[in-house]
Symmetry: C2
Subunit: 295 residues, 2 copies
């Protein structure tokens, strides 16, 4: 079994998601918190320009900028395109089987009531073992399995072959919530503990199956020709993280108060409900299938 | 009694506070919703530049730009300074006893759990009568009475002599919440109903006293020399709108988990707890005295 040499914790990929920004601040002040005997922990703020403005990004979403195609395209010169190339040198390079970092945890928050969630966009076996361990330590953690339309995933967490994104919420953009801050820190500590056990051959078991929400499709708000939305997330869904939708479930309510219902015959779960940053992406929520997968 | 001729409803003063933005959209599509027989209702988006970016402001906070001194200073040329002068021509001019608008309701939202709140920064008798009526219709409405350091108030709602700000929350920036949207609309309808009764001499009573939270001081987060905060709002306060603080109440918790307590002998109430936009203003919460005032 190949040992793990270096684990990266990254925060501030979105400059207005303060949980990650401040956890990295905390580790900078006291690196011993994330130090382990049998591997090195590396941590960094990824998007300092956006952090300074307290905005999601400067020119474009850094967490959609790590495709191999984009990283190799010298014509892309926005702030985040340049930044992605720099980060790729530190943490990647992407596509390498021998990257500088063996595992990455990228820290995010969401205005959606997702509680403690992992977003995993790889089938990498090590990543799923970490997820299995983490869910055993903290059963309240939910896992969103992202199967993109393409193999060329654009997330920060996709730079090395192993890693995931932590999403916690609901937290408004530009706000630090103490409860979620400490819960996210707990998740990081468990991840680091996993690798200490892993490197010293002390892991007690191999995880074989795990419950996930696998993405099926994104749906947008009903919109007018002016681009403005005509309907809002239905109040029934607002305070929920992983909301079960069956045919006839309320979904939206128009500005005039008319309810719009879920028409699908298949039961799906709504995730990332009413995430502020997705309004401009044309996403009101993600729909997912709940299933147990073999890992 | 002088009749009311024109009431203004303004939204989008902060471009990422969508409740007001979309209520104005709704009224634009169906003006009859805010039409009354005995006065004219005027509604507008105040900061379209910030709305397009979905940011609080373009150059500076429009809701801190309506001082008489600033409006009369031709050297101030930022986007919001220019905008303030234009809006002042439509709704004011400020300082006039005969402004174009008799009463203004400016619509805001906050990431703080303020529920349905009015912010009132004037001693104007008519304004307080409307507040009394509204609180009678909707007892869940709380009133924050703002006594500034100066008479030259800078809020949009200070342009004509009569008016107030509606603040609803918690709502993340860039998010529309259906429940708060409809509750805010109800508040507006009651305000318009008041003026219809007022203009037709059908008001049944005069309000003589009212419970308010009167601002005492603002307090900042504990911060390091780098400007970053060292402590977060204590979880006990996080989900509260008007939180009673007595000596020894928890106030903050440091990133390391150490609790910081309220040291004041006088009982005060915390408002605007953990409002995202106030981090840059150096405000973690406002402290206020709860009292009943004669109106």
């Amino acid at each position: 079994m190949k040992k793990i040499h270096k684990v990266a914790i990254t925060g501030g990929t979105h400059g207005n998601e303060l949980t990650g920004v401040y956890l990295i601040n905390k580790f900078k002040k006291n690196p011993s918190l994330v130090k382990r005997e049998h591997f090195e922990t590396f941590f960094m703020h990824t998007n300092i320009g956006a952090m300074k403005q307290c905005t999601r990004y400067v020119d474009k979403d850094l967490n959609r900028t790590f495709t191999i195609a984009g990283l190799n395209d010298p014509s892309l010169g926005s702030y985040e395109d340049k930044l992605a190339k720099e980060i790729n040198q530190k943490i990647g390079p992407k596509g390498s089987q021998n990257p500088n970092i063996d595992f990455i945890v990228d820290l995010h928050s969401t205005t959606s009531k997702m509680g403690l969630s992992l977003c995993i966009s790889t089938n990498d076996k090590l990543t799923w073992q970490v997820a299995g361990y983490l869910k055993e330590c903290m059963p309240e953690v939910n896992i969103f399995k992202w199967e993109g339309d393409t193999d060329d995933i654009a997330f920060v967490s996709s730079i090395p072959p192993s890693g995931f994104t932590i999403e916690v919420g609901s937290i408004p953009q530009g706000v630090l919530r103490a409860d979620m801050f400490f819960e996210t820190e707990k998740m990081i500590q468990h991840v680091l503990d996993f690798f200490e056990l892993y490197n010293t051959d002390k892991l007690k078991k191999t995880y074989t199956n795990i419950e996930v929400y696998e993405n099926s499709k994104m749906i947008d708000f009903p919109r007018g020709e002016d681009g403005y939305i005509n309907a809002m997330v239905h109040p029934t869904l607002q305070e929920n993280g992983y909301f079960k939708l069956t045919k006839g479930s309320p979904l939206f309510v128009t500005l005039d108060g008319e309810e719009i219902f879920f028409q699908n015959d298949e039961t799906l779960y709504a995730l990332f409900i009413n995430e502020a940053a997705y309004y401009e992406k044309g996403v009101a929520m993600c729909l997912a299938k709940k299933k147990t997968i073999q890992i």
